[in-house]
């Protein structure tokens, strides 16, 4: 669908406000380590897709576990957010933004802010 500008888009082609496939993640705002919440498995898939969870699983649980907390902290570092390790509001607002499909961390390494392999970060967090 190509349009010269926004106002040329027919209204029947405009989804509800900012509807995007990741907007359902907003329901997870405030989740933190130790919780078990429906939908956390999907956000683990999100983090895995972009290289933040270096586990070759396709069947994640809804547990807010160490791997997820580590992934969130690395993501927060890369996007200049406070590294709380929680799905706080600023982090969720960032996660739902449309983005490039290329992973931020490839083969466990990244030169973004986190600047270290995801496996190293897990090690650091566990200490």
């Amino acid at each position: 669908h190509f349009f010269p500008n926004m106002s040329s888009i027919p209204h029947n082609l405009i989804p509800n406000s900012t509807l995007g496939i990741w907007n359902s993640f907003q329901n997870l705002t405030g989740c933190h380590a130790g919780q078990k919440i429906d939908g956390l498995a999907r956000i683990k898939n999100y983090f895995q897709y972009f290289g933040y969870i270096n586990i070759s699983s396709t069947n994640f649980t809804d547990d807010f576990d160490d791997a997820l907390e580590s992934a969130i902290k690395t993501y927060q570092l890369n996007f200049n957010l406070n590294a709380t390790g929680e799905l706080d509001e600023p982090t969720m607002n960032h996660i739902v933004k449309p983005r490039c499909g290329v992973a931020d961390i490839i083969n466990g390494s990244s030169s973004m802010n986190s600047g270290k392999s995801s496996s190293n970060l897990i090690h650091t967090v566990s200490h």
Binding site: I14, I21, R99, V102, N113
Partner: protein
């Protein structure tokens, strides 16, 4: 800035790259012109050129719009979410999600259509990947991974330029003054 693992780049023998569009997409000249502008932004700063060719099979860079699973193991996901992806050198594969509402005239206009995405902004970013750049944590950089819908961001900043010039050197005609540095952009409030 960052690079892909192993710092892949186009070989020295490849400084004049050709690009072609997936024939089935039947893109208009207006849409093709968006990509030409995007390529030009990179060729202004490095000693490389990009020219369209009608031979899709022989092109160095192959551009196509696809929906869902399109055979590369990286399926698109519909409106918003992931917008596009491109592969590191010398793959040349550049794929965009056909489900998006792409704005092509470089004029965002009003913001009633929050799901619309500026095509040139995404194209400039993905060409960075085609040339060997990874993602940057600097929000004003073209190579920052995310972009808000209804946003136009097409100018390379110093982070992008330093990254790409470390791979290919500087265009002899680049005087370094035509593009705002990150600091200038943040100070002036211009840009994205």
């Amino acid at each position: 800035y960052s690079f892909f693992p192993g710092t892949p780049r186009w070989p020295d023998s490849k400084r004049d790259l050709s690009y072609a569009f997936q024939p089935e997409n039947q893109l208009s000249d207006t849409v093709k012109a968006v990509f030409a502008r995007a390529f030009l932004r990179w060729s202004e700063v490095i000693p490389m050129t990009f020219n369209e060719t009608s031979s899709f099979a022989d092109a160095d860079i192959k551009i196509g719009f696809f929906s869902g699973d399109h055979g590369d193991g990286e399926p698109f996901d519909g409106v918003l979410g992931t917008l596009a992806h491109a592969f590191s050198p010398p793959s040349g594969r550049f794929h965009l999600d056909s489900a998006e509402n792409w704005i092509v005239a470089g004029n965002i206009g009003d913001s009633t259509a929050a799901s619309a995405v500026d095509l040139e902004s995404v194209a400039v970013h993905e060409i960075g990947h085609l040339l060997g750049l990874g993602h940057s944590s600097i929000e004003s950089a073209i190579m920052y991974p995310s972009i808000s819908s209804a946003t136009r961001k097409v100018e390379l900043v110093s982070d992008d330029i330093q990254g790409i010039q470390s791979l290919y050197g500087s265009n002899p005609n680049y005087n370094g003054s035509s593009t705002l540095t990150t600091q200038q952009r943040e100070t002036s409030g211009a840009g994205s």
